[in-house]
């Protein structure tokens, strides 16, 4: 046991000795290479430069939300409508917005009067639309609630176009609208919108332009 311990110690001593020897050699070499005669030694500081990152400003120009309300489908009664909207605010005045919504049409007065007549099949009563709109904030302002509360608001007008799928057919539709955006906080807004979707159809006999006026209430958030 004692022999083994001492042999380990000896081996360790030898190894460290070797290391010591080589270190000396290296140091000797360094002196020769690094310090040629006549040139002063430049000491490089061993300090790593701290990177200062300037925080980025987050832009919250997008607005996303959902809405519901009533859609008056001409000749087919007033029906509930549900939709989603996404807007991008380009300047404080201008914004672009996309809508996607669905509703289910009721029956025409003809169908009510004569139950055997079917103008549109049941599947065809699904009324879906998408719109691409350009909006302009015409009347920005504040709305006061009592003495101590003021909410920022904007009355805006929109114009756009899109596709209405009704009676299992896609039609090109244009739309005009007016709406009010009430900012509950700077990132949460309540919308009241009235829009008219106009398209050409010949569902009820002659070909005509139909007005489908929609009144909705929505909630959006800025991100």
């Amino acid at each position: 046991m004692e022999i083994r311990l001492s042999s380990i110690l000896l081996a360790a001593a030898l190894l460290s000795g070797c290391g010591w020897f080589h270190r000396g050699e290296k140091a000797h070499n360094q002196v020769v290479v690094d310090e040629p005669e006549g040139e002063p030694t430049i000491i490089e500081p061993q300090v790593t430069r701290r990177e200062v990152k300037t925080p980025k400003i987050k832009a919250k120009d997008f607005e996303i939300g959902a809405y519901f309300g009533a859609l008056s489908i001409q000749d087919f009664g007033v029906n509930p409508v549900y939709g989603a909207r996404l807007a991008y605010h380009v300047t404080e005045d201008l914004f672009v917005e996309g809508f996607l919504a669905t509703s289910k049409a009721g029956t025409t007065s003809l169908e009510d009067e004569f139950p055997d007549i079917t103008v549109v099949s049941n599947a065809g009563r699904q009324f879906t639309y998408y719109d691409l709109d350009l909006g302009y904030n015409v009347l920005p302002g504040e709305i006061f609630l009592g003495r101590g509360r003021a909410f920022n608001s904007q009355l805006y007008v929109t114009v756009g176009m899109g596709d209405v799928k009704f009676a299992e057919k896609d039609q090109f539709a244009i739309n005009f609208g007016v709406g009010e955006r009430l900012l509950i906080t700077d990132w949460l807004a309540l919308h009241l919108d009235v829009r008219d979707h106009i398209f050409e159809t010949s569902l009820t006999g002659r070909t005509k332009n139909v007005d489908n006026i929609e009144a909705t209430l929505g909630l959006t958030t800025f991100f």
Binding site: H89, V90, T91, E92, L94, L132, P140, E142, K169
Partner: protein, 244 residues
């Protein structure tokens, strides 16, 4: 009890994160005599607070040309972009308010518009990536809604802007490939409902304001069919786009 402790710890961790996030906001020093803070992000909203020279404001986020800022004593309001651009960092460097994208050399464009395709009303949307100042790759998705059929057209092409430094009006030309899908509306049904196409186009573009621009385009498509007849289509469109 252990669960409660765990949830408290979790909450604390979240708080730490939150505080950390709050600390990571940009702070700017006012160098002008004062910085006005408006009640809303618009020119009409009244000034509700004023930050004095050498005071620091924290920038929370931006919306269009307005920046939501917090004054040293916690008041929050909206500062105009041009006003905030005149502040400095604590180190004295100018505030890092990003400049408007340069219209002549912008990279990305996203737009939508109205058009007429094969004498049918059309809704169009596109994205465009600038390879150089005068060469772009554009990808377009459009839906033409007619009385006989509806068509969905997707296309990809390369566009050349002739004089990109002309800000308000510069002519463009492009070539590319397209694909159309025809959805029948009224009989008789089309003999082919999918076609590969090629197009050439002439157009123009121009700057409107800030990040807004317009585009107009006329296109001539050649339809590749297996019906042994020559078929071509015309399209024109006008759109508005946002560039980045």
């Amino acid at each position: 009890m252990r669960r409660l402790l765990a949830s408290v710890l979790l909450l604390q961790a979240l708080c730490v994160n939150f505080v950390h996030a709050a600390e990571n906001l940009l702070e700017l020093v006012v160098t002008r005599p004062f910085l006005e803070m408006h009640s809303g992000p618009g020119r009409g909203y009244p000034v509700v607070y004023v930050v004095g020279r050498d005071e620091t404001v924290t920038v929370l986020y931006s919306r269009t040309d307005w920046y939501k800022v917090r004054a040293p004593r916690g008041q929050e309001g909206w500062a105009r972009r041009s006003d905030l651009a005149q502040t400095v960092l604590a180190s004295g460097e100018p505030a890092p308010i990003p400049p408007y994208p340069d219209f002549a050399s912008h990279r990305w464009e996203v737009g939508a518009g109205y058009g007429v395709y094969n004498r049918q009303n059309m809704v169009t949307a596109y994205a465009d990536f600038g390879l150089t100042e005068s060469l772009d790759i554009e990808a377009v998705v459009q839906q033409a809604l007619g009385t006989i059929d509806n068509r969905v057209v997707g296309s990809i092409g390369i566009r050349h802007t002739f004089i990109p430094e002309w800000k308000w009006f510069s002519p463009t030309a492009s070539i590319g490939t397209a694909y159309q899908h025809i959805v029948d509306k009224e009989p008789p049904a089309p003999r082919e409902s999918n076609n590969q196409m090629a197009y050439v186009s002439l157009g123009a573009r121009g700057f409107i304001t800030r990040r807004f621009m317009w585009r107009a385009d006329w296109r001539h498509y050649v339809v590749f069919n297996s019906l042994n007849v020559y078929e071509d289509l015309e399209e024109w469109k006008f759109g508005l786009a946002v560039f980045f």
